[in-house]
Symmetry: C2
Subunit: 209 residues, 2 copies
């Protein structure tokens, strides 16, 4: 039977990150200094060391992301779970707000009418916020594809894309397309990701500011 470590609440997270660092060392993985905070927090939220190999950062992604947050950018998610997980108080301290339009009745009606996903319509709604917007996509590849299309058509440019949808249909294709654009991104290649991963990336950037 595993023993219990008696730690104060504030010590648990510190000890967890120490274990993650030890294990990355054993695996022979060295993370780029700038990216380490984010990748380690994703491992902390998933206990999955695959992310050390599959998280891909565009050039200068982390300072770019931090600059947007520092300057008051909003964050739009594709699930209420990711929205719930983001530290909105910390974000508000920089002037940003977090949104999710998935539960909006108007979005649902329009999606049904057009035979597209609510996630796709949610992105169109987000494109009208009229301020720099970071997209944190942890669930729906159709959200990522719609952002790609909107950007390709030249009508809208996401400030930053956290592209970590999870799943089996169009997930890898959507990530590949987004990585072809010149929009700065953090993307997890392959099938894995999730709302928890999307929120963890946002929080890691917020906590590092």
């Amino acid at each position: 039977m595993k023993h219990i470590e008696y730690l104060l609440p504030e010590e648990i997270e510190k000890r967890s990150f120490e274990i993650i660092e030890e294990e990355l060392g054993r695996l022979g993985i060295r993370l780029a200094a700038e990216e380490a905070d984010i990748t380690k927090r994703v491992i902390h939220t998933s206990a999955d060391f695959d992310y050390a190999k599959t998280l891909v950062y565009s050039e200068n992604a982390v300072p770019i992301l931090k600059d947007f947050i520092r300057n008051g950018a909003d964050i739009v998610t594709d699930t209420n779970m990711a929205l719930a997980g983001i530290n909105k108080k910390k974000l508000a301290g920089f002037g940003g707000a977090a949104h999710c339009f998935m539960a909006d009745g108007e979005v649902a009606r329009e999606a049904k009418q057009r035979h597209v996903t609510r996630a796709a319509v949610s992105m169109e709604r987000a494109a009208k916020l009229g301020k720099p917007t970071i997209f944190a996509i942890g669930n729906a590849p159709t959200a990522l594809l719609r952002l790609y299309e909107l950007a390709s058509e030249g009508n809208f440019r996401p400030s930053f894309v956290i592209g970590v949808p999870v799943g089996f249909v169009n997930v890898e294709a959507a990530k590949e397309r987004m990585m072809e654009t010149d929009i700065p991104y953090i993307i997890n290649v392959g099938r894995k990701g999730g709302s928890n991963v999307a929120a963890a990336i946002c929080n890691a950037a917020l906590y590092a500011l």
Copy 2:
């Protein structure tokens, strides 16, 4: 470059589950009929086939869980993310409500004063709901440990425990202890789990009713 499958929104989930089944077949994994819906939904939410091997169900866990839901049991989570992910409308159709006490100011104050986690105090609060309660623990091992202690002291008995906290400190120990009790459970052994996994298990049971 991966091609895009053009599917209607309602077809995406169906196709995803077909792919999961094909892949389980290739891996030579046969899931017990009763448990398949839940395990497959966890894989759907994580793209992680490890869960097919690490999710452990106590005897008759699935019919027991479904019976509690059908009879109006409440669900208590240890994160607002898990709470956001649970289909609360569907749960309400059976007379149940979902709760999370983590953001409660009283809980935070008491935890600070006693040098314990908010998750532990949240469980004590939940123990006073006065009705059959399913616990869906996707984050804090201290929530699971507190439930174990409350049950061992004989003062409170959770109706059912979904024990899928994620992490590196006390997570495995907490799961092992809970599995020693006679409380019915679904537990993911090892470090993995998460709020998304906790919500997926609740939803799989709800959708199968």
